[in-house]
Every structure is written in structure tokens, then in C-alpha cells.
Subunit: 324 residues, 2 copies
């Protein structure tokens, strides 16, 4: 092959039961399973072109050339693809997000899911969903969950081949929405990949892990039953448990800002007044506020009134990574 | 005896290693030991008068008559005193704080320490420090720590008679100060006594308890060595661990407000710039910022510039509860 090209789109996902900490850091095999839904309104689009005339791999992200650690991480995935396809051709990777990066909207999840699909296709491979999820995971753990569509479970697994994500309910199963209260679009001080290595320094991480199967069962069942009240309780507990571990790591990781806490408190107040909303927060200051679709307008409007909320992005449940 | 009166003063205390959760709720025997220092600048003054002409116990707190649960809790202590003294005389209790109540400055600690000393003395008892600490504990767990002076350890103990506090270093041992950033003087939504009963609902509480002896040893040693850096690390970790348990209880307890988090972040930034400060937070929104005495002015002035800080109270290390 002298050339091959493919373009893929993938959504970020919001975890209901969080991924935090690896049992194998290099392979990104997590200490606990996790659950998420894809975010329809947001996506990364990535084009990979292999060409024997390229002297080396290159990466352009949102129109900016990227070198160093960012490019190395992409080359790591390209190497896995090249190895599998039996080739050593360099690639040009061009990736664009329609949402701000580095704010806890898990841009790396969408990015590595799109990359896994585009790169493997451009190399002439035909990977199934499970193989794609495993490949995406190698770039960013949560990217494994952006390969399948709808409501997704990532089983922790024991080794590379059985740590992958699958859909347990399609996007149409439940009209859930995510109203993302954007607190800051600054780059976060500690990126998730580094944070994962600190998880085991928290005296609370072992308890979080030990309790994870229980939380996953409750959360999966709440989704299958479309039971918002049950979902709210377990999603907030799980998010708070992850941030508890982060804040009690050495060094301590504080992703919350004052406005993050203001949104948490507002959401808890609104729910106690009868509005079906709950919050969950990834490794960043933004707050994902979940609600049934019919409450999106009320929720988004209220969020815009909270001090420190810069904008609100709204997203429905999204489908799988796909070629375009 | 037809009449007997005594007046006592006691300081609140700030815990470096926190008390959260009881193994015996009624006796207030804690699940873990704790460490604290008394706060010199703040105190409760309480006068107890037994008189056979009083038809029943009465309580006046900051010039307001108190009935109901507040009075019942005081009567509980008076009953223990009367039982021990072999009397059944009613008492008039008058108590005044020189600091705002219900804001997480542990007013109940100072209140029940002063009450234990004043009531037992007014009843003609001569209790030693250990017996006073046990008696105070029955009214409010952390009150056991406001009986001895200086730097105090409350050993959890297994039963009523060996759950008490003692001084392990006098107030003069180390010139530490507490700059209390007052965020709100509103009454807190869940008082500590109720919160303790929820601690065991957190999936993280068992891990917090299991790790407590390690934290106590590190903290005690840091104090004995006057090692601020070591103190800062363990005090912040312990405070964050307690709030982690609170936030992951069912129902969840959030004592932090947006301004609480702003102070946490400011303190962490200032320390990374070289100012020896650290934070610890009780069951309320206020932030206790510890520093060596010579940094009090800088610290208090900086705290006053943080959005949402209403005032800053400054306190040195205080002595034991005493008769006045």
C-alpha cells in the first residue's frame, strides 16, 4: 500500500460510574468497571492518511500542529495499527473537536475512539466493535466507551483482550440529556492520564474499588428501568467518591472550583424541589447535569443563572463511533 | 444542699485529626481517636446554680431562654452530675459565647466542657481532668477535648471509662495560630450530633477509620517536632477524608460552600509559594487556617481578600477549661 485514508467521528461520553486508577498503567486496564452514555451533540472528527511519502507521523489538532507527548500518544496507537496490518507507513492525522478541549468533557475519549476507527480503517483492517474498543482504550481508557453506542459498560477485565466496552442499551432506550455547565475552558492542571497514577495513593481508593461492582449493578439497573431517582442517587455518590479519592491523593487533586460547588448545591436544591436533575463531574471543573429530555430547557436556563457558569452545552444520548 | 453555684470557662478546639462517627451513639464513644488544639481567643462562659427552689432545669444561651432538645441535652449532663452527687436539685444554667454559634467553630465543645466543670463544681464534686473529660464527652464528643489544655489527644477507648482526652503538649509547646475564615454565620443544616449517625452510611468511612491510627501517629509526631510541613500534609488529608465521608453519606452532607473551596485553593496556592499555612474544616462552611504565630498577620490579611470571607477570627493555642 502506498496510501490509505479514512475519516471517523466519535462522541465523548459521560461516565455514570467513573474510571479512576489502573491496574496496568501501560495497557490502561482499569481497577474497576465503569458505565457511561455517549454525548450526541459533541464529537471529534479525525482523518488518518497513511502515505509512504510521509517521512514521519504528524498530528494536527483543531488546526494546530502538535508534537511531543501529544503526538507520541497518537503514534502509540498508529504503531499498534501498523503492527497488526504488517506495515510501517507514516501517517498524517487531522482531528477537530466541536467542543472545548481540556475542560473535563473527556476530549481524549472521543479523540482516541475516532483515531482507532479511522486509523484501523485507513490501514485496511476491519476490526469489530470489541477490537476497536480495546484499541481505543490503549490511547485513553475512557475512549473504550466511546466506540459502542448509547449506554455503555466497560468491563475492567484482567488483561488486554478482555478489557473492553459494550452497549447494554441503545441510545433510544431512554431520553436522557446532559446539560454541561461550563465553568472554565482553561486547561486543567493535572490531565487524567497523570491523575490515574495517583489514585492508589489515596487511603480511600481501595474502598472505592471494592464497592464498585455494587454501584455498577445499581446504576445499570436504574438505566434499564429508566428510574431517574435511583440513577441520581448512585451517579452523584459515584462522582463524589471519585473526587473524594482525588482530593485525598498525594499530591491532592482538586478539580472543583467554587462555581462547581455552587452548581452541585443548586442541583441538589432543585431536585429536592421536584426537578429531576443530578450532577456528575469528571476530571475537570465542569458539571454535567443529567435530566430527562423534557426538562432540558428548564435545567439549562436555571444553570445559566448560577454564578460562574459561562455557558451550557446540551447533549442527548449519542450513537457509536462511525466512519464518515 | 439548698444552693450551690460555679462559673467555668472553656475554649472550643480545632481538630487536626477529626472525630466523625460513634461506635456507641448514646455514650458518644467515637470510632476513632482524634487530636486537637484549644483556641485561646474564643471561649464559652457558663454559670450553673443548683437551688432547691427551682421547679425545673432552665437554660439561657447568649441571653436567650432555650427549651426543647437544647435544654434536654443540658439536663442529660446535669442528671449525670446529680446522680454522682446524690442529689435531685434543679439548676439554672447560663451560658455565653464570645463567638458565633452553629458555624462549625464547635460551640458545643466549649459549651459542654464549661458545663461539665461548672455543674460538677456547683454540685460539690471534685472531678479530676479525666473524669471531667468523660463527663463533657457525654454532652458532645469533641467537648472531651476542651477539658485539657494545649495540644490534646482523645483516645477512642472501648467503653465509657476509657474514652477521654488528655494533653500531650502544653499550649506553650508550639506557637501555632488558627485564623478562622468565617464564610457564614447561618445555622448549619445538619448539626454534628445528627451527622455522626450518618457516617457509617458512607462506603468510605471504614477506610477512614482503619487509617486513623496512622494519621494520629503522624500528626502527633509533627506537633511534637514542631514540623509545620508534616502537620500541613496530614491535617489537610484528614479534613478532606472526613468531608469525603460526609459527602458520600446517605443522605449526603455538604458543608462546603463555594467560598470554602476558594479558601482551600488559596491556602494551597499560598503554601506552594512558601507561606506556611494549611486548612482544616469542621462540620460547617468556615475554614480554619493554621500557621505559625509569626505569619498570622499576613495570613489573616490575605484571607480577608478572598471572595466570600466575611471576617477572620484569630486564635492562639489555648489552655484547659477553668473555674472563674
Amino acid at each position: 500500500m502506498t496510501t490509505g485514508t479514512a475519516t471517523a467521528q466519535a462522541h465523548p461520553n459521560i461516565a455514570f460510574i467513573k474510571y479512576w486508577g489502573n491496574k496496568d498503567q501501560e495497557l490502561r486496564i482499569p481497577v474497576n468497571g465503569s458505565l457511561s452514555m455517549n454525548l450526541d451533540g459533541l464529537f471529534t472528527q479525525t482523518t488518518v492518511t497513511f502515505n509512504t511519502f510521509f517521512p514521519k507521523d504528524s498530528l494536527t489538532l483543531n488546526n494546530k500542529p502538535i508534537t511531543g507527548a501529544g503526538l507520541d500518544r497518537v503514534t502509540g496507537i498508529l504503531d499498534l495499527v501498523r503492527q497488526r496490518a504488517g506495515m510501517n507507513t507514516s501517517a498524517e492525522v487531522r482531528s477537530d473537536n466541536n467542543f472545548p478541549t481540556g475542560t473535563g468533557i473527556a476530549s481524549s475519549a472521543a479523540a482516541f475512539a475516532a483515531l482507532a476507527l479511522a486509523a484501523s480503517t485507513a490501514a485496511g483492517l476491519h476490526l469489530d466493535e470489541q477490537q476497536l474498543s480495546i484499541l481505543a482504550r490503549r490511547g485513553s481508557g475512557s475512549a473504550s466507551r466511546s466506540i459502542p453506542g448509547g449506554f455503555v459498560e466497560w468491563q475492567a477485565g484482567a488483561d488486554n483482550d478482555d478489557s473492553y466496552a459494550f452497549s447494554f442499551a441503545p441510545a433510544e432506550h431512554w431520553n436522557l440529556a446532559d446539560c454541561i455547565a461550563v465553568i472554565s475552558s482553561e486547561h486543567k492542571p493535572t490531565i487524567s492520564s497523570q491523575g490515574h497514577t495517583l489514585a492508589s495513593t489515596s487511603p480511600l481508593q481501595a474502598a472505592r474499588i471494592a464497592d464498585a461492582p455494587r454501584r455498577i449493578d445499581i446504576c445499570r439497573q436504574a438505566i434499564l428501568n429508566c428510574d431517574f431517582e435511583a440513577l441520581a442517587a448512585i451517579v452523584e455518590l459515584d462522582s463524589d467518591m471519585m473526587h473524594a479519592v482525588m482530593m485525598t491523593s498525594t499530591p491532592a487533586l482538586f478539580y472543583w472550583r467554587p462555581a462547581t460547588l455552587a452548581v452541585i448545591q443548586a442541583v441538589r436544591d432543585w431536585r429536592s424541589e421536584g426537578l429531576p436533575v443530578c450532577y456528575t463531574i469528571d476530571a475537570g471543573p465542569n458539571v454535567h447535569v443529567l435530566c430527562p429530555q423534557e426538562y432540558v430547557e428548564t435545567t439549562a436556563n436555571r444553570l445559566r443563572t448560577v454564578d460562574g457558569v459561562q455557558e451550557v452545552l446540551v447533549s442527548k444520548t449519542g450513537g457509536p463511533a462511525k466512519l464518515v
